[in-house]
Symmetry: C2
Subunit: 370 residues, 2 copies
């Protein structure tokens, strides 16, 4: 075989649905020579990450940790640990990631009761109420920030009715984490997973997760083994928080170095400032896009600031424009998924990519291309 | 919360059971600014990695790819895709990782027929033969390089009897990959997983996997869904090799940059040269350790060159010496697992850590400490 050449990628501007641009401090921390996954210094890095994930999720949950795999594995981690065959699970579906939640819950052997909303709109709490009354729910799972549609889902009312039904609330916060308000304890969230590569602006590959005491109680009272060994929290928790820090798997040391630095940057900026920055740049982008004739898919009160889903104006060859944005301007934006393929764009303003310069680069390029 | 300080880890010399030292070229490639996980340039990186993993595994298998998680997830990936509830699986156990294989197979709903050997010795093919005759085996799973004991398991005879029984051969090559001979096609291996952080010397977090056509046939004729969504190869394969390169999960872009560079370094050196380097440095270490009074756990023909398991001489406080090696010399070696805790050391000479300087540093430090 002929030897392959040195890596030589283009310098992209990442404005799709994630990954987002990564700060040079994070890249530098990631390239630190390694220490072992059981080195006392690495256990301290894990402790630092745990404390900072608690802070950014606004939770005191002792079982707060990072799954050594991307957000989809975090999703699976929450469901496989909480569901057993025969359990009933209310799954809210208003996009790709709700659909995925239902798929995974079924693979756990659960009976899934679906609560659906048109893609691009939020779930109606009244429909959750009806679903809860129709079964003996072990949990309700819902996506806080639907990356496939740009919908921000209000959670507080649904959380209350979930508690009243004696069920756990499982939340997908992959895209909202570190970009908009997310209060795990105040909102009564029992299990939550996120991703490293959205508003946290670390490289993809890790999934922060937190479990409430009620979720731990369910975990500890399982009648069957968790079907995934890799994601079995009855073991993983002893690596993250046990007195002995028992070996489970080899943690991705470099990715954890990167996550630690990305979390430090978030806390230096401050959560409220960071949320405000995402809001402001969203408004700047919105004004520019509307001037160009784009319409938002989602009605104003439910729009995510970091994931802007807009309909493609008639006559625009969306795939061609996206390709030219990438090829000629090095700007990545996202296309639509599922029923929205070819119909919408998904423009990300996440973490390091949520700046006026990003908005200006994109708007100028779009004007030149359209 | 008070802000945490900048990452400030010690410069370790990694001579444990992995991770091993990582070349600066790999760290540099990893810190390249990101591209998107569906960027045509990233799909080319995936293609490059696939070709180089085929080359290093000496296989033509088209379904050769990388699981976006550590080796344990690669193990789970092989078993969850090949096993269905009620299947019979012959699992060979001669250390921690065979035990883990059996645990995962049981979580898949398989009936496990165990073939055991004393830890520190290889599996006897005659016992595999008896087990195969006692059931209708779907697969035989065996560890090629038992990281918990340092045993190199010969595979060719067991492979032949597995084929004769109409079963698939599943192999754990986490520690042997890129460090000693491993011929997937010639040896008739049907499914194999490895890890990035051993003799490949990339950071931990990824697991190269390959499936033969016979394994793909089993996958495609499943009656039930794969119990893990994240590891379901009926979907993952469309991201790695499909005509459309369909989105499944967000791949760990930076870790893949690192893996590409680590594979390039392996192929520049050449597989045979690399294996010879591991052998020579193992011999250097062996001679030094024996002069200091250490005895190897494993008899000579079955010793792994990259994972040296030695008994602790009487009177040596193993935990204290290991701690002093780390604190005073920055050298990490591994302790024993399970029944060998406190009784053996596991000294790694993997990838970038397999050099005369590593051996000399360790031997000199040990002489000063003991």
């Amino acid at each position: 075989m002929e030897n392959l050449k040195e890596l030589n990628t283009s310098t992209r501007v990442l404005m799709g649905p994630g990954p987002s641009d990564v700060h040079s401090r994070v890249l530098r921390a990631m390239s630190t020579p390694l220490v072992g996954h059981l080195d006392p210094e690495f256990l301290m890095v894990m402790d630092d990450i745990k404390v900072m994930v608690q802070e950014t999720l606004q939770t005191q949950n002792p079982l707060t940790f990072v799954v050594s795999a991307p957000g989809s594995a975090g999703m699976e981690c929450c469901l496989v640990n909480l569901l057993e065959p025969g359990d009933e699970a209310v799954i809210c579906i208003h996009g790709v990631f709700g659909t995925r939640l239902a798929d995974i819950a079924e693979r756990c052997g659960a009976k899934v009761i679906k609560v659906e909303a048109d893609w691009g709109t939020p779930i109606d709490p009244n429909n959750v109420k009806k679903a809860l009354a129709s079964c003996k729910p072990k949990l309700v799972a819902i996506v806080h920030a639907e990356t496939s549609t740009g919908v921000l889902q209000p959670l507080e009312e649904i959380s209350k009715m979930t508690k009243e039904a004696g069920a756990l609330l499982v939340v997908d916060a992959v895209t909202s984490f570190c970009g908009t308000e997310l209060k795990v304890d105040e909102w009564g969230i029992d299990a939550l997973y996120s991703g490293s590569q959205k508003c946290l602006s670390a490289p993809p590959g890790l999934s922060p997760v937190t479990f409430s005491q009620a979720a731990i109680d369910v975990l500890e009272n399982r009648k069957t083994k968790v079907q995934s060994w890799f994601l079995d929290l009855t073991m993983v928790k002893n690596y993250w928080a046990g007195a002995k820090r028992a070996y489970h798997h080899t943690a991705p040391v470099s990715a954890m170095f990167a996550m630690r630095e990305a979390l430090r940057i978030v806390l230096e900026e401050g959560l409220e400032n960071r949320f405000e920055r995402h809001r402001k740049n969203h408004e700047l982008l919105r004004d520019g896009l509307e001037r160009l004739g784009f319409e938002f898919l989602v009605s104003e009160p439910y729009r995510l600031p970091m994931l802007n889903a807009v309909r493609i104006p008639a006559g625009v060859d969306e795939a061609l424009v996206r390709k030219r944005l990438l090829d000629e301007y090095n700007i990545e934006i996202g296309g639509g998924l599922g029923p929205f393929a070819g119909k919408i764009w998904r423009i990300g303003l996440m973490g390091e990519s949520a700046t006026p310069n990003h908005v200006n680069m994109l708007m100028a390029a779009l004007k030149q291309l359209m």
